[in-house]
Each structure stands twice: as structure tokens, then as C-alpha cells.
């Protein structure tokens, strides 16, 4: 079969016909380094796949998510290497707005690219890969010695009600984009490429970002109607990124410039929340609902008055979510949050909306998350309205250079 150059999705549409699509290598070239907030969110922007860090972490949070966790079916290290190589190439093509694969116009062959993004813009797609603790426990792969000390399964945490079918996984892929179909397409095509080597264990769509990861972005609201992530780390704060997000000399060499990814599927009991008086909602979180300002304040970004009192009681209640999650109350520890709202139809047993927050955080050490969640899980007033039903942890290796592949330093 004659290999055809990759087809650029937009150009394919413009060309006279699929069979005549003898176009050159698509646009979107691979720039060194990451654009942070520069990529336009009007659809035309693309985020370079290759770079020192994987994209999708310090990238300004896109609006949509498709996240998938996979079980590895083989313990042959060569197969895993080939998979990561093929996934890297396909992910880079998709992020550049090109069609995946080279066989897309042969009448007798199923097209390699599934086609639903033809005519769609790159839409700032990012694809981020991670490796779960269980990957390092497969004897055939021989990775035990390379396992980062920090990559231990998350301990049981207070208020956990985890469903194993919605938790964990050997490998994860996070696809984020401003176009839901572009994010879906990335996961679908990568799952297809992996067929026979990996099986999808669970996947989660997110329909709206609940975090800002750049100063250029407004703070979005979660499904409780509250501004979420006001105090988040911003990618422009490179000092905080180095200190709290990127793995440094403490990690094994293959993890330097990487990070650890935690996901928590947090089901919100929206019917209960919606019946709570406004004042209770605000005291539960510790912020005013509409302005996002700390209780007693007027501006979203004013510092939390954690010491302030009114009538002998703390202005921000002791069990308020923002207090317990604040860096000050957690020994200075911070995490980069990058979560999404989700809904998955109707809860079968209750007939209520199955909806909530698909929490994603990136941190240099999972212990940062564990310490915060231990406090939240046992003390947070918000626990009345939420349940953690899914949980996973992944080591996210640094980015790849063109010609290399994600995870190469671990797997080669």
C-alpha cells in the first residue's frame, strides 16, 4: 500500500476528493516548548504535542475533557514500547489537526482515522499519558526497579465510597479540547490503536472546565454554582509550578519534568445541595456564591481572612471547604487542579442526576493531595453533599521530542 502523507483535516475538506488528497505534510508543525495561554481558544489554536513537559498540564484549561484508563493485556515490554510509540505519533497528529495514520483513502481498507473530526479545527487538543502503580507490578515488564517511591496506590481516605470499576488503571490518557468531538476522537482513535494490547477500563467525559490554570482565564463555576479554583496554581507562576507540580531531582531520572496525576470522580448530591439555603451553601464553601469573594469580602481574589472573627466565631467557618483546602492550613502544600463537570444520565437506584466533578490534580508528590484530602474527607462541611466514587493515580512522564515517544526513558 503506498503510504500517503498525513491529511490535514481542513485541507481534506477543501480538496476535490478523498482519492485526490495528495497533500503535503499538514500544518501545525511542532514548535519547541509549550504555549501556555497563547493558543487561541476560538478553535484555530493548536498546542504543540512535543516539548519538555507533556501538554495538558500547564496548558490553559480547555473546556472539554475525555479521560480514559486502560488495563494492559500483555506483559511483553516490546508491545508496550510499540504501543507508546504508536500512541505518541497518533496523538501528535491529532493535536496538530491532522488525520491520524496514513491509510485514509484506500477504498478496500478501513480508514485509520475514524473521521469525525474532518473539517473540525485543532481546538487546542492536548493528549497527556500517565502510568498507574499497577503497571510497575507486572513482573514481565520488569519495571519494579524504576518505580518512583512516590507512586504508591492512594491510601483509603475518609469518606471514600469507591467503585473499583471506576478506579485505577495501568495507563491513562487525558484528552482536553475546546471541542468535545475533538477530545472524544482522540480517545477513540488511541483506544483503537491499542486494541489487543490494552482494554479500556473506564472513561469519563467532562463537559465544562471547573478550573483556571492561567491568569488569562476567568474562574469557572462548578455544578454547585460556586466559583471553583480561585486559589489554584496558575501556569504563569513558574516558581509554584517548579515547587509544587514538576518532579525534580527527588524522582527517578525518567520522571524529571513529569508530575503525578490524581483523578477523583466526585458525585454531587445536587438535589440535596439545591435545597440548602443560600447562607448554608456559602458557609459550606466559605465564599459568597455570586462574587466568589471570601465570606465578608467583596472581591474574588482577596486573601482568605482565615483569622477574622465575627461575634466570637471565625468569619470563615472551621469546616468551610476553602479553609480546609487552603495552603495555609496544609503546611503550605498546593496542587494544580484541572477538573471538569460531568453528568452521566440518571442514577439508576435513586432516579437523580448522576452528576458532579471529575476532579483532576497534578502535583509533584501524590502526598500533597493525600494530606489535603485527609483533612477534607474528615472535616469538610461539603461532605454532606458529595461522595468520592472513583479514584486513580498515575505517574505522568515528561514530554517527548519529535522522533521519540512518551515514556521512552522509562521503557527503553
Amino acid at each position: 500500500m503506498p503510504p500517503n502523507p498525513s491529511l490535514t483535516r481542513r485541507r481534506l475538506l477543501a480538496s476535490a476528493g478523498v482519492g485526490a488528497a495528495a497533500v503535503g505534510l499538514g500544518g501545525g508543525g511542532f514548535l519547541a516548548g509549550h504555549q501556555l495561554a497563547e493558543a487561541s481558544d476560538d478553535g484555530t489554536g493548536s498546542v504543540p504535542f512535543y516539548g519538555p513537559h507533556q501538554a495538558g498540564i500547564d496548558t490553559a484549561a480547555q473546556d472539554r475533557l475525555h479521560f480514559a484508563a486502560f488495563d494492559l493485556l500483555s506483559e511483553d515490554p516490546r508491545e508496550l514500547r510499540e504501543l507508546m510509540r504508536a500512541w505518541t505519533v497518533a496523538a501528535a497528529e491529532a493535536c496538530a489537526g491532522e488525520m491520524v495514520g496514513s491509510v485514509n483513502d484506500v477504498p478496500l481498507a478501513p480508514p485509520e482515522d475514524t473521521g469525525e473530526t474532518v473539517g473540525l479545527l485543532p481546538s487546542r487538543l492536548t493528549v497527556t499519558f500517565g502510568f498507574g502503580p499497577s503497571l510497575f507490578e507486572k513482573p514481565g515488564l520488569g519495571l519494579a526497579a524504576k518505580r518512583p517511591a512516590a507512586l504508591r496506590p492512594l491510601p483509603p481516605l475518609p469518606a471514600d465510597e469507591l467503585n473499583p470499576a471506576e478506579s485505577d488503571g495501568d495507563i491513562c490518557i487525558q484528552a482536553c479540547s475546546d471541542d468535545p468531538q475533538v477530545a472524544f476522537h482522540a480517545i477513540r482513535n488511541l483506544a483503537r490503536i491499542g486494541r489487543g494490547t490494552v482494554a479500556m477500563r473506564w472513561s469519563q467525559l467532562g463537559f465544562g472546565r471547573t478550573a483556571s490554570t492561567s491568569r488569562s482565564q476567568d474562574t469557572p463555576r462548578n455544578l454547585m454554582g460556586m466559583k471553583d479554583g480561585t486559589a489554584n496554581i496558575r501556569a504563569e507562576d513558574t516558581g509554584a509550578m517548579e515547587r509544587f507540580v514538576w518532579v525534580g531531582g527527588e524522582g527517578p531520572a525518567w520522571m524529571r519534568g513529569g508530575t503525578f496525576l490524581v483523578t477523583r470522580r466526585i458525585r454531587m448530591l445536587l438535589e440535596v445541595w439545591d435545597r440548602a439555603p443560600l447562607q448554608d451553601q456559602e458557609r459550606t464553601i466559605g465564599r459568597h456564591k455570586y462574587s466568589g469573594a471570601p465570606l465578608g469580602g467583596t472581591d474574588e481574589f482577596e486573601p482568605l481572612p482565615l483569622e477574622a472573627e465575627r461575634g466570637g466565631h471565625p468569619l470563615i467557618p472551621r469546616d468551610a471547604h476553602v479553609r480546609l483546602a487552603s495552603a495555609k492550613e496544609n503546611g503550605g502544600a498546593r496542587i494544580l487542579r484541572r477538573g471538569y463537570s460531568f453528568t452521566d444520565g440518571v442514577d439508576e437506584s435513586l432516579g437523580e442526576l448522576e452528576a458532579g466533578l471529575f476532579f483532576i490534580s497534578f502535583q509533584r508528590d501524590p502526598e500533597q493531595f493525600v494530606a489535603i484530602q485527609r483533612r477534607l474527607g474528615s472535616l469538610d462541611a461539603l461532605n454532606e453533599y458529595i461522595k468520592h466514587v472513583g479514584s486513580a493515580l498515575f505517574a505522568v512522564p515528561p514530554g517527548a521530542e519529535p522522533g521519540g515517544y512518551v515514556g521512552e526513558a522509562l521503557l527503553s
Binding site: 493485556l73 478496500l108 486494541r195
Partner: protein, 285 residues
């Protein structure tokens, strides 16, 4: 790859198994009859087609032979025996199902599920299956059974004259796996008797036979793909083994979601590779 040849084959109905003649392809297409003729006279291609036609014929004959005692039991009103004999003709039928599909009305007459056809037109294997298992009787089934016998005989006669091209045989191999994914792994095919795993295995056997027929062509164009597909076929058959019983397979109703998920995963892995074959052997020409 020869694009014209591919187009002609496509035009000739590569999504079914039956070759229409190139001349029937309609106007506007610069029909390349000569190339088709060249392919047909290629001895290796002829051997492929002959091999697979033998397989079709054997299974069509077996279908007729195993339907006879089943029909006799139904006509005689012997419920237990009819149930015991139901699975045997299902196997050869499911092995060559995509061929039957191309004979228009015969497939629905023989193999339709109740929701596939208009009310009052439900006949064939599954109508009798419903009577035996759900209604617990053979009452009223004698004419249905006798018609079924005539229909499978008509099918066998048509199979004798079928014309095929290797690409269509390879497409048929894919089609059979599509059958597994669409209706066997979901338990929809044999919804009263729950012998879906019997059909599952027969579909995969038929797919393997079609693949083995075209394999000599694939060995030349892409031997690695051929080897991978063979190992995936083994994996699929192995994945069925835990469910095998003395006289067939466990009932579909005994499978857990984890069981069906594993079976589906093996089928998907095989099908993804197998779907590359038609283009790979067409490129060989």
C-alpha cells in the same frame, strides 16, 4: 495497489460475498472486466476461490442434513428431541451466514429474529426456537418446520452456483466477526434457547475458514499480518474454552458482564487486524 481493480470489486459488492458480474456494475464506470478476468485466471486466486467454495458447499450440505432430523422431530411433536436437535443446523448456518445474506429473502426466512420482520412474517429457526423454549410446545410448528427445510435446501442449491473473489471472501471473514459483535456477544441471537456461544463459535470458525482460504495471498503481501491474525484466532478460541460443556456451551445467561467483556475484547482485537486483509490482498495483485 491497482485502484481500478479495487473499484470494480467494490462495485461488484465487496460488502457481501456474492459477486455480481462486472457488466452489472452500471454505466459511468470504466469497467475493467479484463482485469477481473485476469484475476480469475490467476491459478493462485482460483485455488483460493475453489477452497472456499468447497467449504461453503460442505456447510450448506451439513445444514440440509442436520435440519432434516430437527424438522422431523418438530413435525412429530417431540418437544425434547426437537430442543436437543436445534443447535446442530445452527452451526453450519452461522459459519456461512454472510453468503446466505446475499440471497435476499432467504436469510430472513431462515434466520430472522422476531423484531427483524413485520408481524405475521416471523418464521424459520427462531420462530421454532421461540415455540420450543418460550411456549414449550411444537403445536402449530409443523408447517414452519417444513418450510424451513425447503428454504435451507434452496439456500444450498444457490450456494452451488455462487461466484466469489478473494477480496469478497476476506470481507466475509470480517462480516462474520461483525455478526459476533452485533448479536452473539449480546445474547440477542438465541434469545429463547440461549445457545449464543454455539453461534459465536460457528461464526468465528466460518471467519477463520474464509481467512485461511485467502491466507496464501496474504502470506505474499503481508506475512506479519497473517501471523498476527492466526494468533488472534487462537486467542479467541481459547477464550471460549472455559464455557465449553460436554454437548456445547453454557447458556448465555450464565455469563457475567466480565465474561462477555473479555470475549468482546478478544473479538475486537482480532477484527481490527482482520479488517486490514481485503486491502492487503488487493495490493498483492
Amino acid at each position: 495497489m491497482n485502484r481500478d481493480l479495487v473499484r470494480t470489486l467494490l462495485c461488484a459488492g465487496a460488502f457481501g460475498l456474492l459477486a455480481l458480474t462486472a457488466a452489472a456494475c452500471g454505466s459511468g464506470d470504466e469497467t475493467t472486466t479484463t482485469e477481473v478476468a485476469e484475476q480469475v485466471t490467476n491459478p493462485k486466486v482460483e485455488a483460493v476461490v475453489a477452497d472456499y467454495r468447497d467449504y461453503l458447499q460442505q456447510n450448506a450440505d451439513e445444514l440440509v442434513a442436520t435440519t432434516e432430523p430437527f424438522v422431523a422431530a418438530v413435525v412429530a411433536g417431540n418437544l425434547a428431541e426437537a430442543k436437543a436437535l436445534y443447535a446442530a443446523p445452527r452451526i453450519p448456518y452461522e459459519r456461512i451466514e454472510p453468503v446466505a445474506d446475499t440471497f435476499g429473502a432467504l436469510d430472513p426466512k431462515i434466520d430472522a429474529r422476531e423484531n427483524d420482520v413485520a408481524a405475521g412474517e416471523f418464521e424459520g429457526f427462531h420462530r421454532i426456537e421461540k415455540a420450543l423454549w418460550e411456549e414449550g410446545t411444537t403445536d402449530g410448528m409443523a408447517p414452519v418446520a417444513e418450510q424451513l427445510q425447503r428454504d435451507v435446501e434452496a439456500l444450498a442449491a444457490k450456494v452451488r452456483g455462487v461466484e466469489l473473489q478473494p477480496v469478497q471472501i476476506a470481507e466475509g471473514a470480517n462480516g462474520l466477526l461483525g455478526e459476533v459483535s452485533a448479536s452473539k456477544i449480546t445474547g440477542e441471537e438465541e434469545r429463547y434457547s440461549h445457545i449464543d456461544l454455539v453461534d459465536f463459535e460457528a461464526n468465528v470458525e466460518g471467519s477463520e475458514a474464509a481467512f485461511e482460504a485467502v491466507k496464501p495471498l496474504l502470506d505474499e503481501s503481508d506475512p506479519d499480518l497473517a501471523a498476527e491474525i492466526e494468533s488472534h484466532f487462537k486467542a479467541v478460541f481459547n477464550s471460549l474454552e472455559p464455557y465449553r460443556t460436554e454437548d456445547g456451551f453454557v447458556s448465555y445467561t450464565e455469563l457475567t458482564k466480565a465474561d462477555t467483556r473479555k470475549l468482546a475484547r478478544e473479538i475486537d482485537a482480532l477484527a481490527e487486524e482482520l479488517s486490514q486483509v481485503p486491502a492487503a490482498i488487493a495490493g498483492d495483485e
